[in-house]
Amino acid sequence: MSATADTDNSELTGTDTSVARIPQPDPITNKDLMKSWFGWWWANEVSHTFDRMLAPAFCFGLIPTLQKLYKDHDELAKAFQRHLLFFNTQATWGGGTLTGITISLEEARAKALANGEEPISEDMINNTKVGLMGPLAGIGDSIDSGTLQYIFIAIFLPFAKQGSFLGALLPFICFAGLTFTYGYYFTKMGYALGRSAAKEIMAGGRMAGIIDGLGVLGLYMMGILAGQYINIKSYLKFSISGKVFDINAILNQILPGLLPLLAVVLLYWYFQKQGLKITRGLIYLTLVLIVLSAFYII
């Protein structure tokens, strides 16, 4: 498929070593924030995949803003690539806030690169997103789709019961209108918050400590997500002279959650050895899962 794309993806894991100057970025306006928020809001679930989840939509929203920030071909390509990596959050509380924060960090990075200063690293940007996406999604899911949506539906359901189309239209308009509006405010808030944080980080020389802290939070959140999202268990059962052996029960006695962990560790080990070859990892994993499940081993 794309062997070249694979080799270039591996560059993402490296840190910024060379500080080459790039052209000055254009200033970011409220219009840009609206464009990026709208792009994320629109593409949101359209391009949902199993391996990146909502990353393509997040990248889609950032495209016009990144084009204003990075007039340099290589830096723009790197920015696009880093925002296509696994990302999953809720649309307004998570996506809005993180769109704003990410734009502020990207802006600080672009300015520093243009001025020949030490830039905010790609690690910093990635770890901020990964660390915050889970907590914000937890808040957003329970408030937006879990509560607010059903409040509107419950309020207007009597209209539907009496046969009025308003029972469908009003909850839809109220929910969509309200969440779109405050999602934009979260974007603006995230941008303002990120700008002041970025200044403090750049001035204080505490970057290394903060990246470590975000790395802890990011890896920790990946552990929680792995425990909750990955679902692999064995369906293998066989009997020897009348006694039934249930492999899943036996595995659970040895170590609960062994199979999902094994999948992550093997993939991680593969990326460590071979570089970040996403396409191959995807194909191998899918094939293994199909074969094992076709025989009801998992």
Binding site: V46, S47, N126, V130, A168, G213, M221, G223, L267, Y296
Partner: protein, 258 residues
Amino acid sequence: MHVTLSAWQALLIAIWVALVESRILGTMTLTMRFSPLMTGMVVGFVMGDIRQAMIVTAAIQLVYMGFVAPGGALPAEPAIGAAIAVPVALLGHMSPQGAIAIAVPVALLGSYLYQFRFFLNTFALKPMDKYAQEANARGLKFAIIVIPTLISFLLFIPLMFIALYFGAPVISGLVAQIEHGTLIHILNSVGGGLAALGIAIIMQVIGKKRLLPFFFLAYFMSVAFAKLKINMTIYAIFGVIFAILYVMLNNKNSETNH
């Protein structure tokens, strides 16, 4: 009992379902997908009986009050259920309760279709890596919006059209037949396992091997506490505290070393 629609009516409803399930109308499709109400309204409009359609849909809505989709996958697709059940109820003059009986199994099948969409996207969206590497914004936009929309339309329109045109009883029978079949089992297993990939990618990207114990700590916390159904925010608060403690202790160590 005559349970078919005209070809035009079937096609219009099928296109509506594709618009909702492809999510091409943006995040506002959330309510359209989680709730059968908008679909019921459209079906009523297409069939010229909004009043009865809304009454039937209101009954279906009660089944799906409070559905949430952690991680994006709903256990059922109420919009797909309503798209089949409401026309059948209107044509067959069924009670709202009878419509529920059709909507529930169809919505269940719909959730497999929705996940199959993720599966197809996973492979079909690969060109976006190439476009990103070339800093090709137009190509990226094409890969992220146009390709998945085409996939959804090719997936949902023919299936919904056939189902509506040839009748929902066929669907109910089909669901019963394949529900415990190998195909659905494979789809579930692939869907359940592929999340491992994205997580392994992020671990590689964060790239700090010495911090890996925090991954294992969190993994076994979430396995051990699974039965307690701890809220994601609580887990996140623990994570922030671990991160702060780590940075604080690290600073202290480097100060004493000086």
